[in-house]
Symmetry: C2
Subunit: 226 residues, 2 copies
Amino acid sequence: MSKHEGATPANGSPGGEQRLSRASVQRFSLYLRHLERWNDEGLQVVSSSQLGDALGINDAQVRKDLAYLGNIGQPGIGYHLPDLVAALRRCLGIDRPWPAVLVGVGNLARALLRYRGFQRQGFTFVALIDADPKKIGQVVDGLTVQSPDKLPEVLAKTKAELAVIAVPGDAAQGVADLLVSAGVRGILNFAPTVLRVPPAVSLVSVDLAVQLEQLAFLVHLGQDEP
Amino acid sequence: MSKHEGATPANGSPGGEQRLSRASVQRFSLYLRHLERWNDEGLQVVSSSQLGDALGINDAQVRKDLAYLGNIGQPGIGYHLPDLVAALRRCLGIDRPWPAVLVGVGNLARALLRYRGFQRQGFTFVALIDADPKKIGQVVDGLTVQSPDKLPEVLAKTKAELAVIAVPGDAAQGVADLLVSAGVRGILNFAPTVLRVPPAVSLVSVDLAVQLEQLAFLVHLGQDEP
C-alpha cells in the first residue's frame, strides 16, 4: 500500500468539471501500463471489456473512468489505442519529462536508477544527493553524488520539481525539510516513516512493509478458510 | 499504487462475522505503524482522534475500523496502546514470523535485505534465489544464493510461504510459475509487469512507476490551480 498525502485533487482537473478520485488516478496508471504494452504489440483498437478483463475491473467502471478523458471512444467499436494512450498520459501529466533528484545513494537508489519503468514514463534522475562525505564526488550511473547543501542550486540548474527520498527512516524528515526549503514540488518517499510537508508540496509514500503486511494478511485469511 | 490480486477476503475474517475491505486492511497497517512508534515512545493510551489526526482520517472511520478488532477501547478514555498493537498484529496475521524467499539478487534485493521495516514486522528472508550462474554460491547478508531449481527443497526446508520477486519484468512470470509450482502461498512482486497466478496464491504487486505517476499527477494538478 502507499499513502498519498499533500495536495488533493479537489479542483484543477484537466477537464475542469469533475473531480478525479485517487482510486481513479491509480486505475489510470494501470490502464496506461496495459495499453502501452498492447500499443507496443501493434494493437490498434481496444474495448473497455478487454481492458477490464485484463485488470479484473468491470466494464462499466472502465467506461466511466475513460469518459473523464472526453469523447475518445466509439460505441460498438472501442478506443483507438494510440489516442487513448496519449489522452491518459496528458491527463496524468506525464506527456512531458519530469526531471527528479534522488536523495540517499544506497542500494535502493541504485535499483531505482536502473528501474526501466521510470525512464519510460518520462521520469529521469538528473542529480544524486547524499550526506555521506565518502559518497560525495562518486559517480553512479553517470551522475556525480553531491552534498545536500547543494540542493538549491541543483534544483535551479536541473529544473527538477520532483525528489525521491531513499534514506533511512531517521534521516528522512530532515531531508524532506531541506527539499521543501530548496523548492521541490513533489516528494516520493521510500523511508519507513511518516513525513510532514507543507500543503503546497505533494507527497506519496511507499511503505514496503505495508505491502508485505497486505500479502501476509491475504495468505493468513486463506489459511482461515475451511 | 499497488495492485492486490489473488485470494480475496470474502470470508475467513478473524472475527468471522464481517468482511474487511482492502482499504481497511491498508489503514490497519498504517495505524499499526503509528501506534508502534508511540508504543516505543512509551505512550500508554491513545484516542481515535489522535490516531485520525496523525493519519488525516476522520475519527468516525478510525472508530469503525477499530471496532472490527472487538471491544478493546473504553469510551471517553481511549485504547490501551499495547493491547491495540497486539490486536492489530493478530488481525493482520503478523503475530507470528513469516519466513520469505527473495528471488533476483540485484540492487533492489540488497536494499530489501537491509530494509529494517520488514524484520520489525516479522518478515525474514531465509533464502536467496537467482538464475545467474555467476551469482549462485555468492553469500549476501549471510545467505548463499541458490539456483531456481532448488526452490522446492528450499521451501520445504525453510517453511517459507512468501516470496518476493525482484527480477526484471521479462523474467518475472517465469519466476512466479516456478514459485507457484514449488508451493509458495503469497508473492510480493516488484517487477514492472502484470503477473498471473492461480487463485489459491495471493499476489501483491508494487509498481514503482505508478507511484511516481501519482506524484506527477498531484504536482501537475497543483500547477493547474490558479
